[in-house]
Amino acid sequence: MRALASDHGGPPAVELDGVSKRYGSATAVADVSVSIRDGEFFTLVGPSGCGKTTTLRLIAGFETPTTGTVRFAGEDVRGVGPEDRNVGVVFQNYALFEHMSVAENVAYGLKFADPPRGLSRNERVAELLELVDLEGLGDRDPTALSGGQQQRVSIARALAPDPALLLLDEPMSALDARLRQRLRREIRSIQTELGVTTVYVTHDQAEALAVSDRVAVLSEGRVEQVGDPESLYRRPRSRFVAEFVGENNLFDGTAAAGAMSDTTTVRVGEASFEIAADADGDVTFCVRPGAFDPAASHNRIEARVLDSEFLGETTRVRLGWADHRLVVSLPAPPDSETLTVGFDPRDAWVIG
């Protein structure tokens, strides 16, 4: 179960207010405004070059916004260096100090701040190594550890001074898929245990949905949508979000009064679909691959089977229908060259 972030009415832990970052004529971040609540696991997700890492670096204090304000607990932090922001940062490539042992790496931040709860430095280091499952490896050379272990050291090091904010910049991109899944569960459980406000940057939307309390989807330096994972997945507000978060099938058409009292009829080319939404004029709606069903009674279309991939639990089938390419998810591979599928009107979501 996810621990919900406390929203006690105080100022947000981190607030970006109309923040832009330009390098010469190139704009990396354009007018971004988001509020990150205290204790929340907040994720910035988007394709490469969308400005998510720059946004994180603006929060950490490695970059200064061209315009706009960054506030920590209501306080403007312009001019405050990263060393005075009380943040912990974890980088993709771990950035461990190779001339120090694992324990010295973890202890480094304790040179500048006393360990919390009156602990001694050694006690704090031992506590954190235990937290990330590396007890007994304190004397090791960081380069002697595996990639996953190095990243755990990096996380322990960032957490040691008890930061008010944990910033993770694509911390798992350098790891293999299986390790990534395990580590992201661990990061989430550590975060829940400590209750530390966390900003997580990833290009992997599945990862973002899996671990976050809330997610901001970025594209070309702008925030497309902020919301909890389920609302992003079920109720995308832009074409970009609909296509970026999970797989989707988009239909552009013209709405008319529905055949049923609670539906709208949308003409798409030669065909028409019944969808359970209020719409008028030109509309775009989307249907998730899993909503298509050969046994559905509504919105049936006959399509050519282009190819299929057997994934175990399901089969991912690509269909050609009119000039559309559709992706549907079926329990078993189709055995014919054409396939008739339909979807429930309530499974269509109108974008915008």
Binding site: V80, G109, G118, R157
Partner: protein, 624 residues
């Protein structure tokens, strides 16, 4: 609101335990906290402070003194004028037949006279002429060495390759001592010829000897850059050419050679620039008859003709910088940066199955080895031999002489012990100054910010300006003193010499430290900063320990350069007792070869230790 207030505000208050620690502990914690805050506040600004300090130091120890010299060329009788340059350009003493061109004679007539046998080149023309010949000879000796180092495998190859960095640390006055010991009237060459009952030859004070000495100095440089280029060629590209039907020679000409030209050109340009500004070698081996521009500048300064000296130094600087600029433009448009994934395989020097082709290549190498032995090994060996040779066999008399406090019957005021002691002290002091300066400049120039290139150029300029000019500037600006608002600021000759050495040394520290810093992942510093380390603290805790080998190599470089520094020291030391070994060697060459070579051996020992340190710790990362 100050930064400190703000940062305190930015740190969200943490709920403290209701019970809390006892009072005494709280007090201690408070004190600790206070100390930490003070240190933190200092460290946040320290890098900028040190940066400003370094710039102030370079400004007062380099730019200001040099400016006082250069101003002489433009101010005549209190008026700003370019007349000094005009006179210089029209003076056949400096520009030979070219001076007539500047004086307005038709180019055709001048061109015809230039082709005639009794043409006059003038000092500048001669300097360029000898630099050109030196460059040809250095390339001719350097490229075969690159071929040997890049394409053959043999015992000692890596050591030989490392030795190519020596020109940067070997004092040129030591090279001169070695050449005097080899080619002088009583040198080993004539001893050898005498033993073979052949007539002796006199090479001292000839152009040939200067050219060979320049090649000794610069051929390793050509070899070094060319070897690096050769090793960066991917074997796959040659194999592709061969598989497409190219003969081995064709593949070499089409694939390998185009990658070597830029490197050879770089080596040649640097050689030309170095030999154009040559000073100690020509002064010691050529005398005033074969004077180059730099020697003339020195002579003019000795004659107190500062305006002409300054104008000549500016002309020299303009030619040198123009060449370097042109080269850098060429390099920017032709640079091939890709590193070969799989370098060409080296052939064993002793072939398994000799074919006529392979034997021919080895014969060539053998011939080259004999020449190389003559040019590179003989001078050093002769110097070492001459330092222990006496009239009745081997002797340590020359070394004992170095330890004497007062040279007996010395008509030319060389106190050998003082020279040795001064050299070591000045080098230590210069190192103490140059090391922090170099590290700070390296730290300031490896990070990206607006104006970085400018800082880089301003900080590196001491490499380009003649040491004589720096020496003279320091002599007049610092030793003679400056008046500011009725107060007179002056420093002793010792301070000035140390300053001149530090200015000459620190660019080498920058050059060894900067590549290491540049190669560090920026996330390391960012991690440290996010953990609470101020910028300077991150430099001390993270960056410097990680590039420590480069720092030590830079220190070794600085020490060796200071030990061998000649140009500015000779200006600052004349008429004082602040002789260093290089200055003493120059006085002793041709008068008392024994002590000169003994000092040369001491310099060789210091240089060798520096070289081993540089090679083991930072030779590969050095920017050349």
């Amino acid at each position: 609101m100050t930064d400190a207030d703000r940062s305190a505000g930015a740190r969200p208050e943490r709920p403290t335990d209701a019970s809390g620690p006892p009072e005494g502990e709280r007090f201690a914690a408070g004190l600790r906290d206070r100390g930490r805050r003070v240190r933190h506040r200092f460290e946040r600004r320290a890098l900028l402070l040190f940066g400003a300090g370094t710039i102030a130091l370079v400004a007062s120890l380099f730019y200001y003194p040099v400016a006082t010299v250069f101003v002489e060329a433009f101010v005549v009788g209190g008026r700003v004028t370019l007349s000094a340059f005009g006179e210089l350009l029209r003076d056949p003493l400096y520009f030979g037949e070219f001076a007539r061109l500047f004086a307005g004679e038709p180019p055709l007539a001048v061109g015809r006279d230039l082709l005639s046998a009794d043409r006059r080149l003038g000092v500048v023309g001669f300097t360029a002429y000898q630099a050109f010949l030196s460059t040809l000879l250095s390339v001719a000796l350097g490229v075969p060495a690159a071929y040997l180092l890049a394409r053959f495998e043999f015992y000692g190859r890596r050591t030989l390759r490392s030795l190519t960095i020596l020109p940067f640390v070997v004092p040129s006055i030591m090279v001169a001592a070695g050449f005097a010991a080899t080619f002088g009237a009583n040198g080993t060459l004539n001893a050898l010829l005498g033993a073979l009952r052949l007539p002796s030859i006199e090479l001292m004070f000839t152009l040939e000897l200067i050219l060979i000495a320049h090649a000794f100095y610069n051929a390793p440089l050509v070899a070094r850059v060319t070897t690096a280029a050769w090793e960066s060629i991917d074997a796959g590209s040659v194999e592709t050419a061969r598989s497409l039907g190219a003969s081995p020679l064709r593949a070499f000409l089409d694939v390998v050679a185009p990658r070597l030209y830029p490197a050879v050109l770089m080596g040649a340009t640097l050689t030309f620039v170095f030999t154009f500004g040559t000073f100690p070698i020509v002064l010691a081996l050529g005398g005033f008859e074969l004077a180059t521009v730099e020697v003339f500048v020195f002579r003019l300064i000795s004659d107190l003709d500062y305006a002409e000296a300054a104008a000549l130094a500016i002309v020299e600087l303009a030619i040198t910088l123009g060449l370097l600029y042109g080269y850098l433009r060429y390099e920017a448009s032709h640079a091939v940066r890709s590193r070969g994934r799989r370098p060409l395989a080296r052939k064993p020097l002793v072939p398994d199955a000799p074919s006529p082709r392979e034997l021919l290549a080895r014969l060539g190498i053998a011939a080259y080895a004999i020449v190389a032995l003559f040019v590179f090994v003989a001078p050093i060996a002769s110097m070492v031999y001459a330092s222990v040779a006496g009239p009745d066999g081997l002797t340590l008399a020359h070394y004992r002489f170095l330890l004497q406090r007062q040279a007996t019957g010395a008509s030319f005021q060389v106190q050998p012990f003082e020279a040795v002691r001064n050299s070591v002290l000045f080098a230590a002091a210069a190192l103490a100054l140059a090391l922090p300066m170099g590290v700070v400049v390296a730290a300031l120039t490896t990070r990206r910010y607006r104006g970085r290139k400018l800082v880089d150029v301003v900080a590196m300029a001491p490499l380009a300006v003649s040491g004589i000019v720096v020496g003279l500037g320091l002599l007049r600006g610092v030793v003679f003193g400056v008046e500011v608002g009725g107060w007179r600021f002056a420093a002793g000759g010792t301070v000035a010499i140390v300053a001149a050495h530090a200015v000459a040394c620190y660019p080498f520290v920058v050059r060894t430290v900067a590549p290491g810093l540049e190669g560090l992942d920026p996330a390391l510093v960012e991690s440290a900063r996010a953990l609470g380390a101020a910028r300077t603290r991150a430099l001390l805790d993270i960056e410097i320990p990680l590039v420590w080998p480069g720092v030590v190599a830079g220190a070794a470089f600085a020490f060796a350069i200071s030990m061998g520094e000649f140009s500015s020291t000779v200006v600052l030391a004349s008429g004082t007792d602040q002789f260093t070994m290089p200055v003493a060697i120059e006085r002793l060459i041709g008068r008392r070869l024994g002590p000169a070579t003994a000092m040369g051996v001491v310099l060789l020992a210091v240089t060798s230790v520096s070289f081993v340190l540089i090679d083991r710790l930072g030779g590969e990362s050095f920017g050349l």
